[in-house]
Amino acid sequence: MKHSDPNSPDPSDFDATLDAYFQSARGGVPKVDADFMQRVMDQIPTPPSSVITPTGADTVAGASRPWWKQIFAEIGGWPTVTGLATAGIVGVWIGLTGNSIWGLSFDQFQASAEFVDPFLGYDLSYLEG
C-alpha cells in the first residue's frame, strides 16, 4: 500500500519497512576478513619499555642509550651522584674549618691517644732484654 502523502505516512507502516531497509544495510556488511584481522594484530606495537620497566639498565632500549648514560646507570645513577656531592662538600668544609671541627684539636686527640695501651695485659718488660 502506498501513502498519498509521503510527509505523513502511517508510522506503523513505515517503521516496519524502514527496519527492513536497515536490516538490509546491516546484512550487507561483509564479515571481517581473518587475514586483515591478523594484519591489525601484527601491527600492535611493543608497548613503551619505559612503562614496563621504568628504572634499571636492563631494558632493551637501554642498549641503544649513549655510553655516558649507560656508565651513569652502571655506577648507580643519581643516588651515587648525590652521595659523592655530599661527601665532597663535607670534605671541603673540614678542610676550611681546620682541625678544630669537632671541638677537639688534633693535638688533643693525639695526646689522649697516648694513654691507650695497645698491649693491655701484656707486660712489655718481657720484650726488654
Partner: protein, 199 residues
C-alpha cells in the same frame, strides 16, 4: 621479566584493556581488537561502502588508538566513543579526498555475505544503496543519529554521549530523521519503479 595478567581479559572493560596494553600487555590489545574490530569495520563500511576502504580506516583507527594508549585517561572517554569519532573523521577525510561525499548510493556495493540467495542479495544491495543515498539527504545530525542507532546499533545513551546531546534530543532527532527518511525512500523507490515496496 614476568608480566601478570588479570585472570580473564575477555571480561575486562575496554579502557582497562587499553591501560593494560600501555603497561606492557600485547595480549590485552589483541583482545581489544577482536572485540571492537567488527563494530569499527561495520561503521567504516556503512560510510564508505567498500571493504578495502573500510579496512584501511579501521586499521588506521587502531594504530591511532595504540598511539594514545600511554596517555589514556580512563575517566575521560569511552574507548568505543573515541574510536567512533576517529573512524567518522577518517571516513569524512577519505570521502572528501575521493570527491564522492554525495554519491554513496551510486557506488557499487561490495559482494555481500554469500549465504542469501541471489535475489535476496540483489534486494539487500538495492535497499542498502537506497538507504545510504537517502541518509545523505537528511540534515547531518539527523543522519548521524539514525546511522548510530540503526546501522551501528548503539544505545541511545551511547549516542547521546557521542553527540553531546541529551537522550531526549537524540530520540527527537531520530524520530524526525525516520519520518524524512521514509519520505525520501518512498520518492526514491517510486522513481526507480519499485511499486511493490510500501512506505
Amino acid at each position: 621479566m614476568t608480566r601478570t595478567y588479570p585472570p580473564d581479559l575477555h571480561t575486562a572493560p575496554d579502557d582497562a584493556l587499553l591501560v593494560l596494553f600501555a603497561n606492557g600487555s600485547q595480549q590485552a590489545a589483541q583482545v581489544l581488537v577482536a572485540r571492537l574490530m567488527p563494530r569499527v569495520f561495520a561503521q567504516a563500511y556503512h560510510r564508505l561502502n567498500s571493504r578495502a576502504d573500510a579496512e584501511d580506516v579501521a586499521q588506521e583507527a587502531f594504530v591511532r588508538l595504540w598511539r594514545v594508549a600511554p596517555d589514556w585517561k580512563q575517566d575521560r572517554a569511552k574507548v568505543t566513543t573515541w574510536l567512533y569519532r576517529v573512524v567518522e573523521n577518517l571516513c569524512i577525510d577519505r570521502l572528501r579526498r575521493r570527491g564522492r561525499t554525495t554519491d554513496m548510493g551510486q557506488v557499487a556495493l561490495d559482494p555481500v555475505d554469500p549465504s542469501p540467495s541471489a535475489a535476496a542479495r540483489m534486494q539487500n544491495t538495492t535497499r542498502a544503496a537506497a538507504l545510504y543515498d537517502a541518509l545523505k539527504q537528511l540534515p547531518q545530525r539527523q543522519a548521524q543519529a539514525i546511522r548510530l542507532r540503526h546501522l551501528d546499533e548503539r544505545s541511545n545513551d551511547e549516542i547521546a554521549d557521542i553527540m553531546d546531546l541529551t537522550v531526549d534530543a537524540v530520540e527527537s532527532l531520530q524520530a524526525r530523521g525516520r519520518r524524512k527518511l521514509a519520505a525520501l525512500l518512498n520518492d526514491h523507490l517510486s522513481a526507480l519503479g519499485y511499486q511493490d515496496e510500501t512506505l
